[in-house]
């Protein structure tokens, strides 16, 4: 930002020039007529000068408005480039204290100061990054041969750009040193440890997070960073089960430098040219011998690649692999195989894993005791095959037994893991912080589905909010909610009819007419169940779906004030069916949506069809949860749109329920003529042509808001077990069904 400002001052200088020029021309013009006799030419000059001044002014304005954004990036290269060499040099005295070795018993509740994170309405930890310092020992030799690496710089940049970042050290919950320990090979262990201990907030490593990808060194290659680090958390690549402190450390992948260089387009999952591919170069000779034996047994299905002997080390050699003189491009060749072997080297964590995932190849991981990257949250069972090293000879048989569909799913999953968690240092860093964040605020943690479902599955899958298979008891009954405007006579008949239903717990009349008061108490029909009248503030259809506190049962019967033709048996039976399907809409009149091929859009159908995809909420049972959902969680502007159009609230409800549960509604009992002599009933209206057009429009509108067509079509309806059976009527629980 500061650089931008420098540019502004230079820019202003140019502007000043403009002004002075303009003034000069002004003077010239005042004097002009006396000197030059030809007025027309003179005018033309004035005109041109003026025009150019105004034009320049306009350009200047434009630059002011739009330039600064692009300035930043160019300025980085220009005037004030920030360089790692500007960082202060710190000399480490030999006598500086060395932290203790990492404590294996450390856990979040013993080695992590949770008070620093505090209560936080956003449930997000704050991360502080120490400013860069260059540490050298007493004779001036740096503590690390590489200094700040490109990857670590990217990682810290990503953190500082993220919402986790804070520049206020006093408010930070997690501290990330700027000392790069990604690769232990380039570190001087003792001095690095001393440097860590010198950090101003080190405090025995409390709440400090170190990122390390290549731990250990020859000859025994320990599986965790050897730098003594007190209580610091370690995000390490290549932990074994003996060094990983479960719930404290984070296992991260080893970043593959090829990720940034090579772009592999996503491939459709499916069978590929090779069945198993081994592309690693540093494989122990014992294992290579075993792989070769497998190759002999299974021939073409296996491709066993190695280093190309004729290429010198470097980028070129990293991008090629050879098999008996045949040269293959790496990592492109990985896309040609269904399974790719990721065998342990001296270290457990292998960068190959990242390449393999990127290629959408299913990793076959042979690394005993290895803690897979991000295993705390990722379900590797769905993306990889883990085989004990001992069973390497049986690898082919094991992989062959995996069903095709599973292989395809694993391929998709593997690629998704790479996209989301492996593809860049930013992805790795953000995932690590999110995992730690989830531990500190476990009640706000990301769910298994959020971590593991690829976008496609997230989109098509449903996780019903009422997922427990539960048949609620009959006893609480249901609350009938009658929406009414002013048809009092019909309303009273409906109330009297409903009051005969045994399981009615309460009757709620939603009085939607603001101009008229409901009739006096004495005029209402006398019924056994309590009756409540709710007056609304506005005449809106959504009032019928408001989660009123008065509704104390979970079952709601929404009913119009003109539905007088349903018998008490039918209503009671509807309630019994709802109990078996509490997460669905259970209603009487059924409707269907159809795809109109001619018009290329959805069409509403109310004829006698063999299929049902909606039930009208003029008479339907549903869970009160959906009231809450309709009122507060309806996607897009549907709710207001319905209120404005005074139509389609029932279609909206069907969309909502089908979308969240993925299930079809249940139509109960045979079709009836929903007509009454003194009112325009649903069917009467439905016949109206314009009404049908409107309803079709609703379906199209909702489908576009939901981005999909959630409605499910079924060909069944629910009847009592003995419906129409040759059996004495009086022995049937619900004899009065379907009569007109």
């Amino acid at each position: 930002a500061n650089v931008t400002c420098v540019y502004f001052s230079r820019f202003l200088f140019i502007l000043k020039c403009d002004v002075s020029c303009m003034c000069a021309s002004g003077k010239y013009s005042s004097r002009g007529p006396a000197l030059i006799p030809r007025m027309k030419t003179k005018h033309r000059i004035y005109y041109i000068t003026l025009f150019s001044v105004v034009l320049l002014g306009l350009i200047a304005t434009g630059m002011f408005q739009f330039w600064p954004h692009s300035i930043e990036s160019t300025a980085d290269w220009g005037l004030d480039r920030r360089s790692v060499h500007d960082a202060p040099l710190i000399r480490l005295p030999v006598s500086n204290p060395i932290p203790e070795r990492g404590d294996l018993s450390c856990r979040m509740h013993t080695c992590f100061d949770v008070y620093r994170c505090g209560y936080n309405p956003k449930n997000r930890i704050k991360v502080y990054i120490y400013p860069l310092q260059r540490f050298v020992d007493e004779v001036g030799v740096p503590i690390s041969s590489t200094g700040l690496s490109r990857e670590y710089n990217n990682l810290l940049s990503a953190i500082s750009d993220s919402e986790f970042y804070t520049d206020d050290v006093t408010r930070a919950c997690l501290f990330v040193p700027s000392i790069d320990v990604l690769n232990q090979n380039s570190l001087r262990i003792r001095e690095t440890a001393q440097a860590l201990a010198m950090l101003p907030r080190w405090d025995k490593g409390m709440n400090h997070l170190l990122f390390n990808m290549l731990p250990g060194g020859p000859p025994d290659y320990n599986t965790a960073l050897d730098v003594p680090r007190d209580r610091a958390l370690l995000a390490g690549g290549g932990f074994s089960t003996w060094t990983y402190r479960q719930g404290y450390d984070v296992s991260i992948p080893v970043y593959s430098p090829l990720s940034a260089d090579v772009e592999l387009p996503e491939r459709q999952p499916g069978p590929r040219r090779y069945f198993i591919l081994s592309s690693q170069t540093a494989i122990h000779r014992e294992y290579r011998a075993e792989l070769e034996r497998l190759k002999e047994e299974n021939g073409e299905a296996l491709l066993l690649l190695d280093k190309c002997s004729n290429l010198s080390q470097g980028v070129a050699s990293a991008r090629k692999r050879c098999y008996k003189g045949q040269v293959f491009d790496y990592p492109q060749i990985l896309q040609e195989s269904s399974f790719c072997v990721v065998l342990r080297g001296a270290r457990l964590g292998q960068a190959t894993l990242s390449d393999v995932l990127q290629a959408g190849c299913v990793p076959v991981i042979l690394a005993d005791s290895y803690i897979l990257p991000f295993s705390e949250v990722l379900d590797w069972k769905r993306a990889s095959v883990v085989i004990p090293e001992e069973k390497l000879p049986e690898m082919y048989t094991i992989l062959k037994s995996i069903p095709h569909r599973q292989v395809e799913e694993m391929q998709r999953q593997a690629r998704w893991f790479w996209d989301a968690y492996f593809s860049s240092m930013k992805a790795i860093g953000m995932t690590t912080l999110q995992i730690i964040n989830d531990r500190i605020y476990p009640y706000a943690a990301c769910t298994y589905e959020q971590w593991n479902n690829p976008p496609l599955v997230k989109w098509s899958s449903v996780n019903s909010p009422l997922f427990l298979p539960l048949i609620p008891p009959r006893s609480p009954g249901f609350t009938a909610v009658v929406l009414t405007y002013d048809r009092i006579e019909s309303l009273f008949r409906v109330i009297t009819e409903i009051s005969k239903v045994p399981s009615l717990a309460k009757l709620l009349v939603v009085w939607n007419n603001q101009n008229k008061s409901p009739p006096e108490d004495s005029l209402w029909p006398k019924i056994a169940a309590p009756l409540k009248v709710v007056r609304t503030k506005e005449n809106k259809l959504s009032n019928r779906f408001f989660p009123y506190d008065e509704i104390e049962t979970e079952a709601v019967l929404a009913i119009d004030d003109d539905i007088i033709m349903l018998t008490s048996d039918e209503l009671q039976f509807g309630y019994e069916v709802w109990r078996e399907f509490p997460d669905r809409l259970v209603g009487y009149p059924g409707r269907l949506h159809l795809w109109d091929h001619e018009m290329g859009k959805w069409k509403y159908e109310s004829e006698w069809t063999n299929e049902v995809s909606m039930v009208l909420t003029g008479a339907a049972f549903y869970h009160k949860y959906f009231n809450y959902l309709y009122t507060y969680k309806m996607p897009g502007d549907i709710k207001n749109w319905v209120d404005a159009h005074m139509n389609c609230e029932d279609i909206a409800m069907n969309f909502l329920v089908a979308n969240i549960t993925g299930k079809a509604p249940i139509k109960v009992t045979p079709r009836k003529k929903f007509k009454c002599p003194e009112c325009t009933a649903i069917d009467g209206l439905s016949l109206d042509q314009t009404h049908m057009v409107e309803r079709s429009e609703c379906i199209n509108k909702f489908a576009s808001v939901f981005g999909t067509m959630p409605l499910k079509v079924v060909e069944h309806r629910a009847d009592p077990v003995l419906y129409k059976d040759d059996f004495p009527e009086k022995l049937k629980s619900f004899p009065n069904i379907g009569s007109l």
Partner: protein, 716 residues
Amino acid sequence: MQAKKRYLFLLSAGACLVLLFYFGGVQLPASGRNRHDRSHNGYRPDQPWPHFSDPLQQFLPWDQLDTEEYNIHISPRQKRDVNTSVYKGKRCRMDSCFDFSACKKNDFKVYVYPQQKGEKISESYQNILSTIEGSRFYTTDPGQACLFILSLDTLDRDSLSPQYVHNLKTKVQNLHLWNNGRNHLIFNLYSGTWPDYTEDLGFDIGQAMLAKASISTENFRPNFDVSIPLFSKEHPRTGGDRGYLKYNSIPPFRKYMLVFKGKRYLTGIGSDTRNALYHVHNQEDVVLLTTCKHGKDWQKHKDARCDKDNAEYDKYDYREMLHNSTFCLVPRGRRLGSFRFLEALQAACVPVMLSNGWELPFSEIINWNTAAVIGDERLLLQIPSTVRSIHQDKILALRQQTQFLWEAYFSSMEKIVLTTLEIIQDRVLQQESRSTLMWNSHPGGLFALPQYSAHLGDFPFYYATLGIKPYPKFTAVIHAVTPLVSQSQPILKLLVAVAKSPYCAQVRSHKRVCVMSSRFLPYETIVTDAVLSLDEDTVLSTTEVDFAFTVWQSFPERLVGYPARSHFWDSNKERWGYTSKWTNDYSMVLTGAAIYHRYYHFLYTNFLPASLKGMVDQLANCEDILMNFLVSAVTKLPPIKVTQKKQYKETMMGQSSRASRWADPDHFAQRQTCMNKFASWFGGMPLVHSQMRLDPVLFKDQVSILRKKYRDIERL
């Protein structure tokens, strides 16, 4: 002059415009310059990371890519051996302390040491042993076994307890199969005693695995030990009570927000949190009650708050609070775990854990974040605001998950023990193990057997979660008994009718080789998700089959059938009754004509114990009842009856052998006996009643028959 004026006016206007920019611009750079200066003048410690643009080195230079030349070092095989010798005792892992070779040949078999005479075994441990002996893992041959269970009671290792078994050390060492505890599993509920309650069992467990309650993360060996819940002596052996959640009320808040009622330890280990609870207690919706009245000499230690606390404590009833609270506080006691945890789980009261360092029960497989709030003892004072910040939708989900987990893994001792064994089995048979999804979603890991398929889409339970649908074809399996002699046999008609269905992928018939269970064998030739199971004398039309199949596609995890039966509780005889009468409800459909998922073939064959399958084979009866029990136990829902053309009346059956079977007077009595036998094995009655039947949408409606798709069903 006119023109000149005009130009002048324009000129001045332009000048003004430019001046405006000039002055407007002056301020911008001024403020900018300040910031710029600051960054130059001194080192500003609080600036964001500067995104260095130097050409930096890679952390892993290209030429170092394969520096891991370890060919010169020891071979991987030797390295493995080194691990096994180094990582012992507290650092045991499956890789170092478990002998996989014992399990290879014979799947996963468990051996229980024979009980020594005179050895005192508590009822709880006796239950654990008998559960294992009744399970499909049990073997009597130690040579076949992969896992060994002691018949010495190790549940209570509190040396002050009356259940404490003395001299365990020598007793264990004398076992000839002990092998320093390798492949042994030791169950333990209590360890250590006052005052420090260590987690030491008081004898050398060697390389044995622990299935232990109240285990701390510090002592827990990940993927080696199993953390089990603390359960009481009264915990039912099989079946167990269902969860208390009966309905999902909206809004999901109950009378209290957060409750606790329990002892307060004034001093010693684990006393801090409970001593501080009164800070959070508000007498309204956060009710945290403690009492000092426990132990003989509580008066001696009592502090200033004791009397007030005790009075408050007696005002509330524990059960009432448990059932009427949204959240239940589960603080640590002397030990990390407490009975309260399971009580809260069953009561659908979302547990709020305050037990730092407790490795939660079955933490290896259960994602507790979906069913509990994991708090931190250090942040006790934040707990009320934390639970209040949890959204209603989340509460609804948490509450339902408590019920799922309770019923899937905790409601009986059998489930706890089997879950423990299944977890170890998953580790042993790595390739055939469950994913997290299978453990954490309905119907849970005990009913989802990974040996069936590695692909989640092959199970009937995960279609919605994966966003996929079952394969839209079925395989008809006809159970044939009589040899084919004439062209008029019903089986031929049936074959024709079924084969006509557009959804039919293949028809298979198999001869009964005198065993009934063979009907439900997981034949590899069944490749479709749906199976249409038929008897040879079943009378069905193509339309009926088509309709039933479209219904099944909506309910792939259930049994969809035609003739239905019902069960009832016969209170006079105190046992379950079976009825084939026409009733207003049903709880079973006969598998002589039913569609279901092929997974149930696998489950029937591999999940059910030999005793029940043997009984079915012996009687040549009840296989359909057993199938109904199994499916309802898995789904917790009734089967689905669809409409059919002709009534499938047992008495009106034709000439076939089946008719003679139905006519047999013993037949009915047998079925009654079967039901009671099955119910006792399942530990309860899994069957659920339904009052509805599914018919085609226009069934018997007053509309032209030509409009109807399934018109044949109505014709007689």
